[in-house]
Each structure stands twice: as structure tokens, then as C-alpha cells.
Point group: C2
Chain length 458, copies 2
């Protein structure tokens, strides 16, 4: 007999690679077909958002969602389902807030407004003061105590529509909400209103966290709808001495018990090595939380369901983690990563889905061991038929980021975000804003990426 | 002196290419920023869909939209705006159709239904007959006259959810609507109902054209909502002898006058060479036509507006064509291409936008001179920051396809189509289903591609 030639070996090796690639393509196709034909995710999302809407940390609604999540995981026939105790911050809005323009002459004019999450209350009679409109925190510092003291600061810098990724526009405008009230307090402001963080012009106010801690010098703060912000700006131009009246009835309570909910399929080869897919169970008190983040929750469940339905036995332990308290504390993320560290668990990959149930565009990936997104790029041809073209460097979302420090590669599903800030942190974040197929395509992209990482390593 | 070395020439050439590319990137950025900050397209769409909804060929609403389009173009300060006379088919739905299940026992049960566009009427008393459910035209032929004669044929093959591109699923199911009635008539059927062409499960019936010509042997036909189709299928399984009653009051009139509306910026270097961007003005009678195709109309206007606003003087003549009668005749397309041929106009590029005002994913391009999509691929890096990754071979849409035969390269804007068939040809195709930014991103992608082709050739 003759030994095979080097070129014959090359041909054989490339045939193996080709066969592997064809097998992968067939499995990715099976995953997509299973999910697009048989997924219960949209119906699960309907139940979660309509029966457990407004599930903020500390609320009964959130603990109802915890039990719902545990039931759904138990019904899937997984190897293990459990709840992890987590103490979470407990802030309540109380009776509905109000913000009114009191013109120099004429009748008061109400504006659509929502107290920011974590804000202090005003006195019951409200706070009434003149208003100074600014575009940035730096402008407040430049104006100084002389111009700011005794006034209500109105942060009115819009999100920049020229960013293509709306998430970047949100990032660039978000300091007004997070740090605007405490910055204004430094110079003696008595309250703050901010322009809602959205690119849409409508009458929905958007809540969201503002900085709070027991010792922080800050002031009561509310978000105005973009229509309301424009109205206030125009009113100020015509009547600079108008006053604004703000009433906020919020209250901080002691920390409350909540839970992460976790379900897993035990790994066939590496049971002690964990792959996580997760989203967050909590939502803002005013929001059904369909995109933020009910979609991520049902997509995480769907990944495990699809593996079971297709008879894929993961080599690593595959875990869905339904995190609690992402919106105003990320205590769920902290508790999960602490648990993982104490238990000596090795997390090899953790992917988060918390950017809305829209058609997926790609993933960001991050690792402390070199460029994970570049290694994953070998799979891009497998994803292209499914409209997934983007693999970029990124740190993972708030819930999986702590696992990066324990050596896990982390990732985010990146859906098309053009519509996300139309409904983000508002009462309009309801299931009618979610398209069933877009939701399912996101779940399929997650399942396919996890399949590839589980079977081949990253 | 020394002549420059070959490698120095290469460096110089690549610097020129790099500088050109940087200039292109800067201009693409300017186009996107202009449109994302200053576009009136969404407000124009609001007027078109709310003041001129249900603009089917032959209707007063369509001619109202024609005058609206002419006014909008005139207001833009173009070099020339004109209307082209086109005679169009004129079919009217008449009084509302009805489809009812008449069970063997018990009360009649109405189903949500819409007569198909172009269908014949039933007698005033309706058509009442037993129903035979089929999944394909081939099944009708196989069953033959013995099983079909005297019955109502119910085409109930769903669109296939495993196609990633919904347009492909539509294509694969669409023969039921287009040819189902005439095929059933061959075997003696008395009427036809079809399952609506949508991937959604809801109670909106979807109309659309069915084959009609004066001599064609065909029968009255209506579409059932997908909920209605499921209900009929279940009722038939329980009660195979049930009857269906169909009343349709449609009427064919003589051809009616309509118009293409055309506006142009005269080319600075090649005024006799034309670049077209276009969509269609008409919509189904029941539909506001926001995605189909009000979006394409306002995007076409926006391309010309952005060129003017940015001071871009196109080298070729740049024309927006608002085609009439795409939905049930494509007489506007035929008239425009005939005019172009008779006038001896050379069309170098014609791009159509008629797949909804969703976030753009790419383009299909077709040419009789080799693979236009491969030549255009050199621009993909310019588009990637804007989420445009796809350039595929394709023939252009119904309105620009005739120009291909005259030597023009043709193209289609391809937006993300997951939501398109939720509203296609229904009363739900209203402006609240269109996101302002997604609409604008589509216009910007069109303007950028046209800029590149105009400035550099394809």
C-alpha cells in the first residue's frame, strides 16, 4: 500500500471541514425550523406581560412572575430547576405624580410625566419654582449656584437621531437621567425634570433609574414626554418667569426578598462547565415589559425547549437564568455571579438577551482571553441566510457582565433597535409591540450560537 | 529627476482610492444625517394614508393622491414635474361581502372575509354549496370534476413559516390566490375561498389580485382571515356536509383615466441619461396603504429632497416616478416604459421601493449586462455602518422590471420583511405600523446608492 499524499490529506481534511460545516448548517436549519413552527414563546410572553405586568423589584407582581418562571421551567422536564434568594431594593411610585406649568398669567397646564425610578418624594403640596432649561450637566456646572439655586432644572437635550444604533443615542443622552438630579442638587436646584429618553415625538413619558443612595445629595425628579418637553421649552421662551409645579409621592422601603429562577440541562461531557442564556424578569412598575425584558425571558426558555425538542444533548451544562432586579439594582446579577464563584462553577459562555424582541442582527462578544468575536466570526457564513451579519466586540449586558471577571466569555444578542426606545420604560411596552416571528428569530439565533459553542468550543 | 517607481505609483493610486472612499463615506454620512434629522417623509405619509386611503385604480381617492403627489413634487423646486396619462382597470368591491358557515344543524356563523381583487360577483342571493378543503392547485386537478363540481373549493395551504424571507413564503403560497379560482372553475367549482396570505394568526382578511380577463373561466372568490380559515377547517372536520354561503357584490367597469406622477432634477453632465427611484401610488380599496406602498412613495420623494437639501447636483437626470396601478394591472409601469422607449430616453438605473417602510437590509440588483450586484459589492463597506449587508441578484419590482429590457440596471430596496405580511392588503396597513426612523433609513439607503451610482457609475 502507499501512504496518502500530502495533497490527498489536504483534500481529506477539507472534506471533513466541509462535511462538518454542512452538518452545522443542517443543525442550524433544524433549530430555526423547530422554533419558527413550534415555539410557545409568544404565548408565554402574553401570559407574562398581561398577568404579571409592572413587575418592579419588591412588588407582588415580580414574585408572581418568579413563580410563573419556575412553573414554566418545571414543565419543560429539565434536569434541575431552582430559585436563588436575592434581597432587592424596594422603591414605590405611590399615588400618581403630576407636573404642571403655572404661567405668569392664565391657567395651569398639565404635562405628561413620570417620576424617575428611585427619586425622592416632594412635599405633599409639591415643589413650585421657576425653571432653567439646560442641554447638559456641564451647562449646570457652568451656570453655577447663582443661576441654579432655588430653581427647577429642565434637562432638554434630545437623543441624537444621527446615531444609527439607537442604543448609542441612549447612552449619549442618558447622563441627564442618571446623574442630572444629583448634579443639579450640587448647585442648589430644588427639583429636576428631564426630556424622556426616546427618539419618538409622542406623549408617553419614559421612566428609568436615577442615581440614589442614602447619603446622596439629590432632588426629586420626573421625566416629561417629548411632547411635554417641547411644550415646556416653548412656554419658557414665551414666558421665562413661568413656574413649574411638581408633585411626587414616591417612597423607599427596606430591601425585599426576590429570586433568580434557574433551570438547566445537565452537560453530557462537561457537566461542571456551564453555558448560560438569560434575561431579566423584572420590569418598570408602569410597564408590561414586553420588549424589556419579557422577550429575553421567553427567548431564554425557548433555547432550552428547542434543545430538548430536537434531542440535542449539550456537552456542557446549559442553563437558563431568569435574573431579578436588572432595572434598579442588578442585585440578581450580583447574587448569581457570587453563587457561581462560591460554588466553584466554571462558566464558559454566558449570553444575555435584553435589547428587545426585534429581528436579530448579530451579537457582541467579549472575553478576557483575546477577541472572542473574531473567533466566532468563522460561523458567520452559517448565520448569513438568517439575516445575522454582525459580530462585534462588546462586554455583555448588565446581568452577565460579572461572569466576565470569572473567565467566562460573555455576549449580547443584538436585535434591530430602531423601535426599542419608542416603548422603553413606558406603559406602551406591551405585547402588541412584539412581532411573533421577530421574537422567534432572536431565540433561534441564540440557540444556534449556543449549539455551535457547545459542540465546538469558541 | 527620476520617474516614480512602480510601487510609488501603486501607493499613489491606492491613496487616491482611499481618498475617494473617505469622500464617499463622508457623503453617505451626510445623506443619512440630513434624512434622519430633517425628513418630512413620515408627515407626508400621514397625509397620504389618512387623506387618500383606499386608493385603488379607478377610484377618486387615487386621483386625489395623484394631485397630492404632483403638489408635493412641485413644492420641491425641481426642474420638471409632470403627469403621464394612463388608462387603468376599474374594479369595485361594491357593498360589503359576506361569508357564512351554514352548519347541518344550528345557526349560521359569519367569517371575516374580503372578496379578492378582480373577482366576479355572486348572484344577489349568494352562492351556497358544500365545501371541499384542499392544500394546492394540484390537489384540485387530482380530485377532478367528480369531487369538485358543484362545490366551493377552500384553499387552505398556509404560508410556510420556515422561510426566513417572508417574501419567499408569500411567493410559494400565492398561486392559491392568483390562479386558485380559475383552476377550480375548470373542474366545475361554483366558488372559491382562500386562506389569507399572512404568517399571522388573526382576524384580518387579506385581499389581493386574482386572475381575471373577459374570457377567463373563473368563479367568485374571497379570502378568509387565518382565524376564519382555521374555524372553517375545524368545522368541516366535525361536520363535512356543512355549507358555505358567499355573497360578493363586485363589479367591473370600463377602464378609467389615471396618471403616473413624475418629477426630475436635470443631470449636470448626462441630462439624457436617467436614474429612476419609484414606488406606487395606488393601494387596495380597503387599505390605507402605509407600507404598501405609501412608504415607497414618500421615500422616493425624500431621495430628491435630500439631493436638493445637500446641494448634490446629479450628473445624470434623477427622477422620482410615482407609478399608478401596481396592484391590479401594472398599467403605470407599462405606460412609463413605453414612454421611455418612444422618447428614446436611456435609463441607466431604476430602483423600486415596494416592500414596506421597514429597516433596510440591502438591495437586489439585476442587469442584462452581467452581474450588477457583484459590481455594486465594492460599496458594501460604505453601507455596513448603516446595517446594510445584502446585495443579491434580482430582477427589480413590478414597476421597474420593464426598464430592464431597455438596458437599464434595475434594483429593489430590501427591508426587513418579518412584519410585512401582518398588514399586507388589509385595513391594518396604516401609519401606526410604520416607524419613522425605519422609513427614513430606507430613504437614506436609496439616496446613498443612487449617489454612488450617479457619481461613479455601476
Amino acid at each position: 500500500m502507499r501512504l496518502p499524499s500530502f495533497s490527498a490529506l489536504l483534500v481529506a481534511a477539507s472534506s471533513i471541514a466541509f462535511a462538518q460545516s454542512a452538518d452545522d448548517a443542517a443543525m442550524v436549519r433544524k433549530i430555526y425550523s423547530e422554533i419558527l413552527t413550534s415555539s410557545p414563546a409568544y404565548e408565554q410572553l402574553r401570559v407574562l406581560t398581561t398577568e404579571h405586568g409592572g413587575r418592579l423589584a419588591g412588588s407582588k407582581a415580580l414574585e408572581g412572575a418568579v413563580l410563573w418562571g419556575e412553573r414554566e421551567l418545571n414543565a419543560m422536564g429539565l434536569d434541575r430547576v431552582w430559585k436563588q434568594d436575592v434581597m432587592v431594593p424596594h422603591w414605590e411610585r405611590g399615588a400618581k405624580e403630576s407636573v404642571r406649568i403655572l404661567p405668569s398669567k392664565g391657567k395651569a397646564r398639565p404635562l405628561s410625566a413620570l417620576a424617575l425610578g428611585g427619586t425622592l418624594a416632594t412635599p405633599t403640596r409639591g415643589i413650585t419654582a421657576e425653571v432653567i432649561e439646560v442641554k447638559s450637566l456641564a451647562e449646570v456646572a457652568n451656570l453655577g449656584r447663582e443661576k441654579i439655586a432655588g430653581k427647577i432644572v429642565f434637562y432638554n437635550r434630545p437623543m441624537d437621531p444621527t446615531f444609527i444604533q439607537t442604543m448609542q443615542a441612549y447612552g449619549a443622552a442618558g447622563d441627564q437621567r442618571r446623574a442630572g438630579p444629583s448634579e443639579a442638587a450640587k448647585y442648589g436646584a430644588v427639583a429636576v425634570v428631564i426630556r424622556s429618553l426616546t427618539l419618538a415625538l409622542d406623549d408617553y413619558p419614559h421612566t428609568g433609574s436615577t442615581a440614589y443612595s442614602p447619603g446622596l445629595n439629590t432632588v426629586p425628579a420626573a421625566a416629561l414626554s417629548t411632547i411635554g418637553a417641547n411644550a415646556l421649552s416653548e412656554a419658557l421662551a414665551a414666558d421665562p418667569k413661568l413656574k413649574l409645579e411638581i408633585k411626587i409621592n414616591a417612597k423607599w422601603h427596606p430591601d425585599a426578598p426576590s429570586h433568580n429562577v434557574i433551570g438547566e440541562i445537565r452537560g453530557s461531557e462537561f457537566p461542571d462547565q456551564i453555558i448560560v442564556v438569560g434575561g431579566h424578569l423584572d420590569s418598570w412598575d408602569v410597564a408590561p415589559g414586553a420588549h424589556d425584558d419579557g422577550s429575553g425571558i421567553v427567548q431564554s426558555l425557548e433555547v432550552l425547549r428547542a434543545f430538548k425538542a430536537l434531542g440535542i444533548k449539550p456537552r456542557h451544562t446549559l442553563r437558563a437564568v431568569l435574573f431579578t432586579n436588572e432595572e434598579n439594582g442588578t442585585r440578581g446579577a450580583a447574587a448569581y455571579s457570587s453563587y457561581a464563584k462560591e460554588a466553584g462553577e466554571k462558566h464558559v459562555f454566558a449570553v444575555e438577551t435584553d435589547s428587545g424582541g426585534f429581528a436579530p442582527r448579530g451579537f457582541t462578544l467579549g472575553s478576557t482571553q483575546g477577541d472572542a468575536h473574531e473567533r466566532a466570526a468563522r460561523w458567520l457564513p452559517l448565520f448569513e441566510p438568517y439575516g445575522i451579519h454582525m459580530l462585534q466586540k462588546g462586554g455583555g449586558g448588565a446581568d452577565v457582565a460579572p461572569l466576565l471577571l470569572q473567565g467566562s466569555t460573555v455576549a449580547n444578542l443584538v436585535p434591530d433597535g430602531q423601535r426599542y426606545f419608542d416603548v422603553h420604560h413606558t406603559a406602551a411596552d406591551s405585547i402588541d409591540k412584539v412581532n411573533k416571528r421577530e421574537l422567534e428569530l432572536g431565540a433561534a439565533a441564540l440557540a444556534a450560537l449556543i449549539y455551535l459553542i457547545d459542540s465546538q468550543g469558541l
